[in-house]
Structure formats: structure tokens, C-alpha cells
């Protein structure tokens, strides 16, 4: 298979890289996907997979089957365990044992894994994450009216909380930081979402640190610093994602790439939740484990592999989520991310009865982010305007 392209990881990043390669004219039979899990499915539909109890086929990506039909070689149930960048080989492990696969180009699309904070008891039975179909299968099996504690109030934690509530479970969300969705929304907007969660009967605690997950073999509850206890039959850890970057680096950090997803090793590319990506507004490389980022680089990497020029400015975050009755929009940089990147100027917040909106500006008064939360049918052209405006204001360099 020398001269062929080997893709490690059968998630969104891997599967769409294969599709884009074929679109670019790369022969399907020269593509190999090493996939621990197969068929590929979209994590983006996990909350609905849980709440609407649709069969797994509805979240599986139709593209998986299509790639096999087209002649892409899929090593399903196979894990890449080592990489020799000098010999250009990947060591793989299947049921039957280990072997090696040669590559001409290698795409590392190994995704991320949920971060588990070092809290005593996180290894107990009944403690799960909200990252894969196996997590949903466990949560679906809980008897109606169970109590669940969700630790972490990011998008993943909150969508899981709402899905569990829809199934009739008692849900408590515990967040260490001072507000929910701390990385995504400004305070007043987060508060709006919090109020609606409370109305759904979800208990939301902020500035609360979980000190221990309690139980013997099975989880029985959690204890906060300060002693307060919440009993629960299951705990969902939604405390962030860390890159699966072990094939290329040992320190657990995301794989560094250039604007086309190339790593420092000849013929080796990386994309998706295992890698860094470029922010459109600042041009800085950041860690953003989001599906559309993986999709963006799946296009660029395919282009680079077939030898087309890639001059890319990066990704404008375009987040939408429905959290119960609240629609959340976040385009561009949020205040927290802008601050981290050293570009935060003013933030303006306004709102009415059923909506709140924030605009984030840089120090020169240029729009860098736009957020809105709303309940009910109030559409705003603001998100499209913000998207186009940000592209226009900050897209100085050629695409």
C-alpha cells in the first residue's frame, strides 16, 4: 500500500477526509481507514439518540457504507498502536494480533476522549461520560425516574441533562465555574439558559466543586466540597475533552499542525479532536474539539494530499444548540475565548423578555463574536449578519 493514504480513526474527521479525497480524484482503493469503531456515527446526535430512542442506524453516518462500496479498505475493529515516521509504517492491533501497515500519506484523526478529573470514585459503576453510543446505551437502560448527577455545564453536559429530564429522570447539574456554559456565553445569557433549565425541573448548581463520587461498587451519589450530598443512581461526567494524540506525542497535548493540517513529519497530517486548528479571527492556532472544525480540516487535508495549494485563514466558530426550549447561537469568539487570545475589547449585552443577545468586540471596536439565546419563535438575522461581518472584517488574508 505504499503511496496510499492511511487514515487512523473512523470518526467524522477520518470518514470525511476519505470522502473529500475521492472527490479530489484520489483512487478509493488507495485509501485505508483504520477504525477502532465502525460504522462511523455522529456524536452530534447523541442527545437526541438518548431522548428520542431512535435506533442506532439513525445516528450512524450513511457515508461509512458508501465508502466501503466505493472500494475504500476499512480495517474495522482495528487500533493503531504505534507509528514509525521514518519507515512510514503504522503498527496495528486487531483481534488476531498485531501487524504493520505502510503509508504514503497518513492522516491522524483519532479524535478525543472525555477528560475525567481526579475525583475519588469516578471509576465506580454507574459513572459514565457522554461521548459515545455506549454511554447512551447505559443511560437508556436506567429505570424511569432515576436520579442522575451531571458534572459539567458545557454544551455536552446540558444537552445530556435535558435529554435525561425528557426521559423523566431527576437531574442535577453541577458546575465548578461561576456560571453555566462558561466558555460559550456571557453571564446574562448563561443566566437566561439557567432559568429555563430550572423551569424544566433541572437543578443547576454553579461554583460547586465535586469532592467525591460516593458508593461501594455502584455509584450512590456525589459529595461537594462543603459537605453537601446528592444521591444519584448514575453520574455523567461532562468535564471536557482531551486529544488522543498519543501516536505523535507523549505529553497528552493536541497535535500541532499548519494551515493545511500538516504535522512536522513528512506525509503526516492530523485533524479533528486530536489536533489544533486555526482561528479565523486571530489567525492563532487553538484547541477546539468541534465537529465543524474536523469537517473544515477534512477538506484542507484532502486538498493538500492531492497536491492542491492550500492557503486557509481558519475556522469561524458557528455554534447552534437547542437546550430544552432555549436556542443558543454563538458565532465567532465568546468573551472568554477572546480574553484568552488577548483580543477582548467591549462586550455589549441587550435583551427582552424571551431573548438575550451579546456582541463581542476587539480593542479596535471590530465585531469578533455574537451570541444569542431565545425561547419561542423569534428569529434574528443577527447570526448571519455577524458571520458575514466577521468574515469581511477579519478575512484580510487570501483564502
Amino acid at each position: 500500500m505504499s503511496g496510499g493514504t492511511v487514515i487512523v480513526g473512523g470518526g467524522i474527521g477520518g470518514v470525511y477526509t476519505a470522502m473529500n479525497l475521492i472527490r479530489e480524484g484520489f483512487p478509493p482503493e488507495k485509501i485505508t481507514i483504520i477504525a477502532r469503531e465502525w460504522p462511523a456515527y455522529s456524536r452530534h446526535r447523541l442527545a437526541e439518540f438518548l431522548s428520542s430512542k431512535v435506533p442506532f442506524g439513525r445516528i450512524a453516518l450513511g457515508l461509512s457504507k458508501r465508502l466501503s462500496w466505493m472500494g475504500v479498505r476499512v480495517l474495522a475493529g482495528t487500533e493503531a498502536i504505534s507509528l514509525d515516521t521514518a519507515e512510514k509504517t503504522v503498527g496495528i492491533k486487531t483481534n488476531g494480533g498485531t501487524s504493520e501497515v505502510e503509508y504514503g500519506n497518513l492522516v491522524v484523526a483519532t479524535g478525543g476522549r472525555p477528560f475525567l478529573p481526579p475525583i475519588p470514585g469516578v471509576g465506580l459503576k454507574g459513572v459514565v461520560t457522554f461521548h459515545g453510543s455506549n454511554d447512551v446505551e447505559f443511560l437508556s437502560s436506567l429505570p424511569g425516574g432515576s436520579r442522575t448527577v451531571v458534572i459539567g455545564a458545557g454544551l455536552v453536559g446540558l444537552t445530556a441533562a435535558v435529554a435525561l429530564r425528557k426521559l423523566g429522570h431527576g437531574v442535577t447539574v453541577i458546575e465548578a465555574r461561576g456560571r453555566i456554559l462558561p466558555n460559550l456565553l456571557e453571564g446574562p445569557l448563561a443566566e437566561f439558559v439557567g432559568d429555563h433549565l430550572t423551569r424544566l425541573g433541572i437543578q443547576v448548581l454553579t461554583s460547586s466543586l465535586v469532592e467525591e463520587v460516593e458508593g461501594d461498587e455502584w455509584v450512590e451519589g456525589v459529595r461537594l466540597r462543603g459537605g453537601e450530598e446528592f444521591w444519584a443512581k448514575s453520574v455523567v461526567m461532562a468535564t471536557g475533552v482531551r486529544p488522543n494524540s498519543g501516536l505523535l506525542r507523549r505529553d497528552g497535548r493536541p497535535i500541532e499542525v499548519d494551515e493545511a493540517g500538516r504535522t512536522g513529519f513528512p506525509g503526516v497530517y492530523a485533524l479533528g479532536d486530536c489536533a489544533m486548528s486555526r482561528d479565523f479571527i486571530t489567525g492563532e492556532f487553538v484547541y477546539r474539539p468541534l465537529g465543524f472544525v474536523a469537517g473544515h480540516y477534512a477538506q484542507l487535508v484532502a486538498r493538500a494530499i492531492v497536491g492542491r495549494a492550500v492557503a486557509d485563514r481558519g475556522v469561524i466558530p458557528t455554534v447552534y444548540e437547542a437546550i430544552g426550549p432555549v436556542e443558543v447561537y454563538a458565532v465567532g469568539l465568546g468573551g472568554a475565548e477572546a480574553e484568552k487570545l488577548g483580543v477582548l475589547g467591549d462586550v455589549e449585552v441587550e435583551g427582552g423578555e424571551n431573548w438575550r443577545e451579546a456582541r463581542v468586540f476587539d480593542a479596535d471596536g471590530r465585531l469578533i463574536g455574537w451570541e444569542r439565546v431565545q425561547s419561542g419563535h423569534l428569529h434574528s438575522v443577527g447570526s448571519a449578519n455577524a458571520y458575514l461581518r466577521i468574515r469581511e472584517l477579519h478575512g484580510g488574508r487570501a483564502e
Partner: protein, 148 residues
């Protein structure tokens, strides 16, 4: 561009009968008629050109067909929701099973238009729509398409 067809939306004519919603052949209707303080709104894809959703989709699941329809190919969609984040009309819906839902104009014969007895939904080329030019949604639509 003159051969392209447009969906024209006149919410002030809408009586909220929901015939359009019932007529939509999609599993989850791609048209919604929410109540507003003064009447009804019609939320459905306006098939913008250029379309922000097409620009934001990184999975090649959205494109503009020759007749101007902004088309969503479900088998390519991952539900990352970037399209919904940038839609000016709130007209890409997140369905109850996690699939994105968007009007595809029924291959050029929109069933909602056929079903609407009030004339709140019109489908046709731009020239014969001169009469509606002063109405705001149409103006918005036309300007987004680069007509005014």
C-alpha cells in the same frame, strides 16, 4: 439568474390554518408557522444566494442546485448545526431525532405552495413578482439574492 425560481412569503396573508405544514412531505415538516403578536409568521428556507448555510457547511451536505434550490443532502449531514447557527431566517430546524430539516422545494413543485389557499406562499420567477416588491420579506429575499 432570471431562470431561477423563488419562494415568496407573505406572512400578512397567513391565517395559521397549517395546511402548508400538513402538506410538507418531509418526515418532520420543513415549514413552521409560529404565532406572533399580530398574526402568524412563516418560517421556511428562503433559498438565499449566496447562502450563509452553504458557506458554513464543512461536510459538503449543502449546496445550491441549478434551479437555485439550496439543497441539504441528509446522508452527508452530521448535524453539527453550523447551518442553523448562521441561517438568517431560523429556517434550518433541528428535528426531534437530531436530524437537520430544511425545505428542498419538493423538486420544483413545492407542496406547501399548492396547499396554501390564502396566497401567503408563492413560487415563481422573479419578474412576475414585481407586485410583491414592496413587501418587506420579499425585499429581504430579493436583496439577499442580489436583485435589489
Amino acid at each position: 439568474m432570471s431562470g431561477k425560481q423563488l419562494l415568496h412569503i407573505l406572512p400578512e396573508r397567513c391565517t395559521g390554518c397549517m395546511d402548508c405544514v400538513k402538506a410538507c412531505p418531509m418526515e418532520e415538516p420543513a415549514i413552521r408557522i409560529p404565532k406572533t403578536p399580530g398574526g402568524w409568521d412563516i418560517v421556511v428556507c428562503r433559498h438565499c444566494s449566496p447562502a450563509p448555510c452553504v458557506d458554513a457547511c464543512k461536510f459538503g451536505a449543502l449546496w445550491v442546485k441549478e434551479d437555485g434550490t439550496v439543497f441539504l443532502a441528509k446522508e452527508l449531514c452530521t448535524s453539527c448545526k453550523a447551518c442553523a447557527a448562521v441561517c438568517p431566517f431560523g429556517a434550518v430546524f433541528l428535528g426531534p431525532t437530531g436530524e437537520m430539516v430544511k425545505c428542498d422545494l419538493c423538486n420544483g413543485e413545492p407542496k406547501c405552495v399548492e396547499a396554501c389557499k390564502e396566497g401567503a406562499l408563492l413560487y415563481g420567477g422573479t419578474p412576475d413578482k414585481g407586485l410583491a416588491r414592496e413587501r418587506k420579506p420579499v425585499r429581504e429575499l430579493l436583496s439577499i439574492r442580489g436583485f435589489v
